[in-house]
């Protein structure tokens, strides 16, 4: 269904690098996208550096702040969680997990999806039709259910969360790349490469994949927020990462129950999560514009 995006609009392979360079220049002129990129950089840096420089550990319990009197204070800017742990260091650490889940799962989806889609599209014929039928079958699986069963079966292994989510998200990617490949395959420069004796693998690597990069990058920026939300959904069901680790989704699920009596438990993680998702969406739009200026 996503084949609608597969417009044969991209320039030929040798232009690949300069295409990215022009795109980058265009992106830099888009103020919303630059602001989004800056915001993401700040949040990511805070999440990585924060827990390192914070005087508190994520599992450190402050006995005088345990229970109910744990609103934000001079010592604990974001307040404390019901177990008396510093919320700021936990929010920043939770960001590490959420961002890592988002990126890793997207990378997994990228690798599987691009490899699969490019192979199917390039080989064509029966192989293509079998491969795409398989994708159709997988499309009709209720995936949430399978992710839940995987969590249950393998325990709350964080690596597995990445892989499981990535394994769910690659289908769209495969379809996009296949569509791109089909349109690229018929172009002259592929014929030329073939005539020059390039192997199929080399053609896929050198020509097909670089040329499908545009839509794939756009799709990636939209997949990361989706994955982060999916992880938060799992946390809401109680299938998130194990204590003392946490994620934004886990913190939000906990805070949502007390939004009236202890709003800081919800506000801080939700603010970080929403800002990140907002920024990712704007960045995605910006990259799309930059890669395909005809659209705007």
């Amino acid at each position: 269904m996503t084949e609608a995006d597969a417009r044969p609009a991209l320039p030929a392979a040798p232009a690949g690098r300069s295409l990215l360079a022009t795109a980058w220049r265009r992106l830099a002129r888009n103020r919303a996208a630059v602001a989004a990129l800056g915001t993401l950089a700040v949040i990511a840096t805070a999440c990585v550096v924060g827990p390192l420089v914070s005087p508190y550990r994520i599992d450190q319990v402050f006995w005088d702040r345990i229970g109910f009197d744990n609103a934000p204070s001079a010592a604990h800017w974001f307040g404390n969680d019901p177990n008396g742990r510093d919320l700021m260091v936990r929010v920043l650490f939770g960001g590490q997990i959420s961002l890592m889940v988002g990126l890793t799962a997207t990378l997994v989806a990228l690798v599987i999806g691009v490899g699969y889609g490019a192979t199917a599209g390039f080989l064509g014929g029966r192989v293509d039709s079998v491969m795409m039928r398989t994708v159709d079958i997988l499309y009709s699986l209720p995936f949430t259910f399978f992710v839940i069963l995987l969590m249950v079966y393998f325990g709350r292994n964080i690596i597995l969360i990445f892989v499981a989510i990535g394994a769910v998200e690659w289908l769209d990617m495969a379809r996009i790349v296949r569509g791109q490949t089909l349109s690229i395959k018929r172009r002259d420069f592929i014929e030329a490469a073939r005539a020059a004796g390039a192997t199929t693998g080399a053609i896929i690597r050198r020509h097909v994949i670089p040329n499908s990069l545009g839509p794939v990058i756009v799709y990636m920026t939209l997949t990361v927020p989706r994955v982060i939300l999916l992880e938060s959904f799992l946390s809401f069901l109680g299938l998130g990462v194990q204590e003392p680790m946490t994620s934004w989704g886990g913190l939000i699920a906990e805070g949502a129950r007390e939004m009236e009596t202890a709003p800081w438990l919800l506000v801080w993680p939700a603010a970080f999560l929403s800002t990140t998702l907002f920024a990712l969406n704007f960045l995605g739009d910006g990259i799309r514009d930059a890669l395909d200026p005809r659209d705007r």
């Binding site: 159709d136 009709s140 209720p142 259910f145 959904f233 809401f236 069901l237 939004m259 919800l266």
Partner: protein
């Protein structure tokens, strides 16, 4: 096109079979069983229960028994809800899920399409940015935050709408809104992108040059092709609404099948989960086919191979 639809339906049968087998055996592999609950059962009684549900048979035999039941349209007894068969539970819950799901998608298409059109017509001006920012809110907050926020503000503080339950139209408002919110965002983006492209096309410029007023150009010439990407998104949107309904049904206390899905998986209510999986897989296959057919009808460039 009919041949295409028939071929797709024929492929759907082995597809469903594969899905059923996958779900069935994954459930059995998962640790814990339907009788492992907070209150552990004495060994003898658990054995009685296992015998009553044929869990003492080899797994292959159980699978055969299940498939045999399915062929007769029997989803089997629920392990947890012992007074109702899975067929009865689904028959009671599915219409409810269908109603809020369909209403949410309709609502999302109307509002999202409207926001997208507004943004496209005023491209790169304030209404564009405002509409897109509003739409993005739906993508930036998990629905398990939106739902309690809505019930607290509109249900408790302002006392405008019921907090939960199912039965009156008023009780359906908040669940539908919660379910529609993320879809509004996506649809608004797709509609905007589609419209922007169409508005640049030569025939639109011609129509404008001929002096037709803006809204008529929009309605007459631009809307129809711009709908195409939105339609192509409806398949994934339906899948997303199904997932979202798990949270919405739990928080608003709605008697749909969405929460059977998660509860059943966590309780190891094997038959109930299988029933919902079969239902949803069938639904997704059917709706994807419908969406593809509608898509081809809207955009004649698409060929059915």
């Amino acid at each position: 096109m009919i041949g295409y639809a028939v071929r797709r339906l024929i492929v759907a049968i082995p597809t469903l079979l594969i899905i059923i087998a996958l779900a069935f055996f994954m459930m059995r592999i998962a640790p814990g069983g339907p009788f492992d609950q907070e209150r552990s059962l004495p060994a003898q009684i658990e054995q009685n229960l296992r015998a009553a549900y044929h869990l003492d048979e080899p797994v292959w035999q159980q699978f055969g028994r299940y498939l045999g039941g399915l062929l007769r349209g029997d989803f089997g007894p629920s392990f947890k809800y012992r007074d109702f068969s899975v067929t009865e539970l689904i028959a009671a819950g599915f219409p409810v899920s269908l109603q809020i799901g369909a209403a949410a998608i309709l609502f999302a298409v109307l509002v999202g399409g409207g926001l997208g059109a507004l943004a496209a017509v005023h491209q790169n001006r304030t209404p564009d940015h405002a509409a897109m920012a509003v739409a993005t809110v739906g993508l930036a907050l998990p629905n398990f935050v939106v739902a309690p926020l809505l019930t607290l503000c509109l249900g408790v503080y302002l006392d405008l709408l019921p907090v939960g339950g199912w039965g009156s139209p008023a009780q359906a408002v908040l669940p539908i809104a919660t379910l529609a919110l993320p879809q509004i965002a996506t649809i608004a983006r797709l509609a905007r992108a589609g419209l922007v492209e169409v508005l640049r096309a030569d025939y639109i410029r011609t129509a404008r040059a001929k002096g037709l007023p803006g809204w008529r150009v929009l309605a007459r010439h631009a809307l129809y092709p711009a709908v195409v990407p939105v339609v192509s998104y409806l398949g994934p949107a339906i899948a997303a609404v199904i997932t979202g309904s798990v949270v919405v049904e739990t928080i608003f206390g709605i008697p749909g099948v969405g929460r059977y899905f998660v509860q059943g998986a966590l309780n190891r209510d094997y038959t109930l989960v299988m029933g919902v999986v079969v239902l949803y897989a069938g639904l997704i296959i059917a709706l994807n086919l419908v969406v593809d057919l509608v898509y081809g009808w809207l955009d004649p460039r698409v060929r059915y191979d």
